[in-house]
Subunit: 251 residues, 2 copies
DNA sequence: ATTGTTTCCGTATGACCTACGGAAATGGGG
DNA sequence: CCCCATTTCCGTAGGTCATACGGAAACAAT
């Protein structure tokens, strides 16, 4: 299915929820059995355990011991709930502004990666029209501040920001995809590749793919560590080179 | 919903389909009304027009003028159909090996971006456990060959490959997300941001976000071109810097 | 106790994927 | 020409999901 994203609901309502703008006290009427925070936390719990696909309104309601439709009193719909989940986990980053601008960018990348690791369903959330809540905004401010301290001109800061943010989220998403699939299908990444051994036996053509063959023979794929570690260090390398390039471009 | 990906079906069956391994001639029996190619093309047409979310088995069957269940004779299920769609559009890249290694990497990025532009639903397809078909494999070979020609050691080629591939797919996906949303919701990116004007009025805090405020006042966001163009040039910049870094790391 | 307000939630609708099993088409053997 | 094994087609049905609707239930003020 398509990636989850904000519905076309009322933006003002969604923003009020994101910033926990209390909708004005209600002195009369039945007491709420659940709160927005409880719903969001329950949804995160379910998604962490069973993936975003399993995070249905019915499943979240069950988790809380209420009827499905009760949720709609507090949250406009599923799309908005995902926005709330997203901004909530982004807040877990707790970014501390220490060290050089490079160290802070890497800190940002590490913390963001940690969020994806803890909440693999983040891979399925589009970050192009993100929920404009405190979790996202604080992160943007942190990353922009780091890049601005690098000495880049203001106009280049915004450009570099898009590139770095794209790299970080893309890398974190890629890295975590593997685990998410493992959780959803009960099949690990290694076993997935193992099951596709047939490919190398039946379809791989040495003449069609000379470079891959050469690299294989040169032992380039004989990494001692696991697939996940290899991907991880590749993205560390990539971010490093990206920052090298940005730094070098100023001189 | 969660990103689409391969189901747990028989890998050998899926690989045979990807490489169009004919399942042996069937001299007897009813003549097929549709072929695998027709199904894949119809599915791509539907997804291009209405998004991956609208690409239901029923919708594809309707497009072909056959019953829904007929598709299951030729294709194991929806997940495998998406694998076939993905590899098919990746084949459209037609990568031509000309120029320096850098030019070839940028060529790869451009062609891949073009695929995402033409088929925005690609954003919703996970590329971590990709369909091992000719479209994907030819691309990997091309990119690996370019990086190998750069003079990197074999072991670094594979590391750089993951980083560049991640960046390219991530960038292409980000860039296209906007259009896909516009198509799905009938709301353009600009109008989406416009509707969230409330955010700047009601929730943006100048003291909490000093860097953003400074950058705004410095005119860093006053780009003449559209949002899409800004994102596009940001990723060009990012890839350039990434390659600068890779190149510089060799010396 | 009545009334206004708010929350809770059972039911129903419509969309989706796909298992099942029978109907329909096809070509070869008698 | 008829029969029948083989293959494809597809109607039906069961399971899942989001969510619109409307009434029941809880609560505070009167």
């Amino acid at each position: 299915m398509a990636a989850e994203r904000s519905g076309g609901g009322d933006p003002a309502r969604t923003l009020a929820l994101l910033w926990r703008d209390p909708p004005e006290p209600k002195p009369v009427g039945r007491k709420p059995k659940v709160s927005v925070d409880q719903i969001v936390n329950a949804a995160i719990t379910v998604a962490d355990r069973e993936g975003l696909g399993a995070m249905s309104m019915a499943r979240v309601a069950q988790e809380l011991g209420v009827g499905t439709m009760s949720l709609y009193t507090h949250v406009p719909g599923k799309a908005e709930l995902i926005d709330l989940m997203t901004d909530t986990v982004l807040q877990e980053r707790e970014l501390t502004p220490e060290g050089t601008w490079r160290e802070r960018v890497k800190h940002y990348a590490d913390r963001t990666r940690a969020v994806y690791q803890a909440h693999p369903w983040m891979r399925d959330v589009s970050m192009v029209r993100p929920p404009l809540g405190p979790g996202l905004m604080d992160g943007q401010e942190f990353l922009l501040a780091a890049l601005a301290d690098s000495g880049l001109e203001p106009r280049h800061v915004t450009v570099a920001h898009v590139a770095v943010e794209g790299f970080v989220h893309g890398a974190a998403a890629s890295e975590v995809d593997d685990q998410q699939l493992a959780a959803a299908t009960g099949e690990s990444g290694d076993s997935w590749w193992g099951a596709r051994q047939v490919f190398w036996d039946d379809y791989f053509d040495v003449e069609r793919y000379p470079t891959m063959t050469t690299l294989w023979n040169a032992g380039a794929y004989e990494v001692g560590d696991s697939l996940a570690d290899h991907v991880h260090s590749s993205f560390d390398y990539g971010l490093d080179k990206l920052l090298d390039g940005i730094e070098g471009g100023m001189r």
